[in-house]
């Protein structure tokens, strides 16, 4: 690993540790990382949209003489009248066009994708010959197909609050709630493991890419600056911890307590 590569890896390691410091409490290191990422992310999306949307879809087309694209340009510029107190009403026109198009597109598309396609997906033929499946809890079994259909309908009924959940209707709604709970539990467990794997990834980054390279003297670019950069970051963190301990002893737990 070359020096500048390691330098930027150290920067990434610093921001990783600064973000993890939030586990203790909201502190200056975390706030720096938090504010920086807001600015960098905003700048990133501005430039990506400039180069992938505005230039090819508007500026290049206008340069080719496709004057119809003056319409989105004018509408877009009208948005900026929002800055003027007197003329801010003009920004409502592009907003109206935007919302009108968006809502109009959403009506048939949402119906097609979120309702009809879902209904289509759950109405599969029941496999009577393979009703209980080949092995333990077979996904392709007829029983699973029925449960998928009945569970989704029962789940929908649970969300229908215009009728009291009593009698048969209440029983189906209750079954729907069981299915929802099983689904939420599975999703929750899956999410927990996804976050854990992200945590493992960050720990692996610190270990494999930062700490290992800081002390890897077999690296042909290795200089004394590698461990110095590493210890500078560690020293900075230790200095902050010592400062917090001193502040805690001086002011007491009330004022130094975490804000999380």
């Amino acid at each position: 690993m070359e020096f500048w590569n390691f330098f930027w890896t150290t920067v990434a390691a610093f921001f990783t540790l600064a973000t993890f410091s939030f586990l203790y409490k909201d502190n200056p290191l975390y706030k720096i990382a938090e504010h920086l990422v807001v600015g960098v992310s905003a700048g990133f999306f501005v430039m990506v949209l400039w180069h992938t949307t505005l230039v090819p879809n508007l500026i290049d087309r206008l340069a080719d003489g496709r004057w119809i694209y003056l319409i989105p340009l004018v509408l877009g510029l009208m948005m900026w009248f929002r800055f003027s107190k007197k003329l801010s009403w003009m920004s409502r026109y592009p907003m109206a066009v935007y919302i009108g198009i968006g809502a109009g597109v959403a009506i048939p598309l949402e119906m097609a994708t979120k309702v009809i396609r879902q209904l289509n997906g759950m109405m599969r033929p029941i496999d009577w010959e393979n009703f209980f499946g080949a092995g333990w809890l077979d996904v392709t079994a007829g029983f699973s197909g029925i449960l998928l259909f009945v569970g989704a309908i029962a789940g929908l009924i649970y969300f229908f609050f215009s009728k009291a959940h009593t009698g048969v209707f209440g029983g189906v709604a209750k079954f729907g709630l069981w299915i929802l709970m099983l689904g939420f539990g599975a999703s929750f467990g899956f999410t927990v493991m996804a976050r854990i794997s992200l945590l493992i990834n960050r720990i692996q980054f610190l270990d494999n890419e930062w700490i290992s390279n800081a002390f890897d003297s077999s690296n042909e670019h290795y200089t004394v600056m590698y461990p110095i950069l590493f210890w500078l970051v560690i020293l900075g963190l230790v200095a902050y911890i010592v400062y917090e301990i001193i502040a805690y002893r001086r002011r007491g737990p009330e004022e130094t307590a975490g804000t999380t």
Binding site: A12, F15, T16, F20, I32, H35, L36, V37, G39, V40, A42, M47, W50, H51, T53, N57, I59, D60, Y69, P72, S88, P94, I99, G100, I101, G102, A103, G104, V105, A106, I107, P108, E110, V115, Q118, G121, W136, V139, S144, L147, G151, A152, L156, F159, W178, I179, L180, M181, L182, G183, F184, G185, F188, F190, T191, V192, R195, S197, L198, F205
Partner: protein, 222 residues
């Protein structure tokens, strides 16, 4: 005029876009494509409003020395460095558009990539990784078998979590792998479908209310 015309425009554009879906005519489809095409362009101008707002809030914070004003410097620094690198190449030459002839300009600028790879990605990935700790404390509250529903939640989540651990995941006797796959593909899919269909119907209803002018709050007052 200032208030009624925008609602009329919403109705005209909304009704056209909804009806067009069922009209397989060349002209109608061309108009539809054009409107779909201009939507992200108008969106970019709206994004500029957001960037202006972020800059103004940060500058005001610094100017009037509001609480935590020092950190606003980092926001502005990150924002303008990314924009600066996004418009330049590695030799600091200005380019308002990316061309195939020049290497390392715009979003391919090495400095732009450095900030993306070594600042933005590590912080965002760590923020998501932080949730592992908070979700653990949330699990403690959620996973108490107080009644049947909480027990179902607990069992499903435990099976899913154990399935991904190196020790229990491979334990054939518990059949965790098959059970977890079944849980994800059958009860979870059924629950997700019920939610997606509910959301879809809600979205259609809201869009209809917007197009017909029943829902008007999005336009603001005044």
């Amino acid at each position: 005029m200032k208030r009624q015309l925008p609602f009329f425009l919403v109705f005209v554009f909304g009704a056209f876009m909804a009806i067009q879906y069922f009209v397989p005519h060349k002209t109608s489809e061309a108009i539809y494509e054009f409107f779909i095409d201009i939507l992200p362009i108008i969106g970019v101008f709206a994004l500029a409003l957001g960037i202006w707002s972020l800059t103004k809030v940060s500058v005001d914070k610094i100017r009037y020395r509001r609480e935590n004003w020092q950190y606003a410097i980092f926001t502005l620094l990150g924002l303008f460095l990314m924009i600066l690198f996004g418009f330049t190449d590695e030799n600091w030459g200005f380019h308002w558009r990316m061309s195939p002839e020049v290497a390392g300009e715009g979003t391919d600028n090495p400095n732009f990539r450095l900030l993306f790879n070594y600042v933005m990605i590590p912080i965002q990935a760590t923020m998501f990784a932080l949730l592992a700790f908070f979700i653990a404390s949330a699990s403690y509250r959620a996973f108490r078998a107080r009644n049947l529903l909480a027990t179902l939640l607990l069992i499903a989540a435990l099976i899913l979590m154990l399935r991904f651990t190196p020790f229990f995941g491979d334990w054939i006797g518990l059949r965790l792998s098959e059970t977890a796959t079944w849980l994800m593909n059958v009860p979870n899919t059924a629950a997700q479908r019920a939610i997606v269909m509910g959301v879809g119907l809600g979205l259609v209803a809201t869009a209809l209310k917007v197009v017909l002018g029943i829902e008007r709050d999005y336009m603001g007052r005044g």
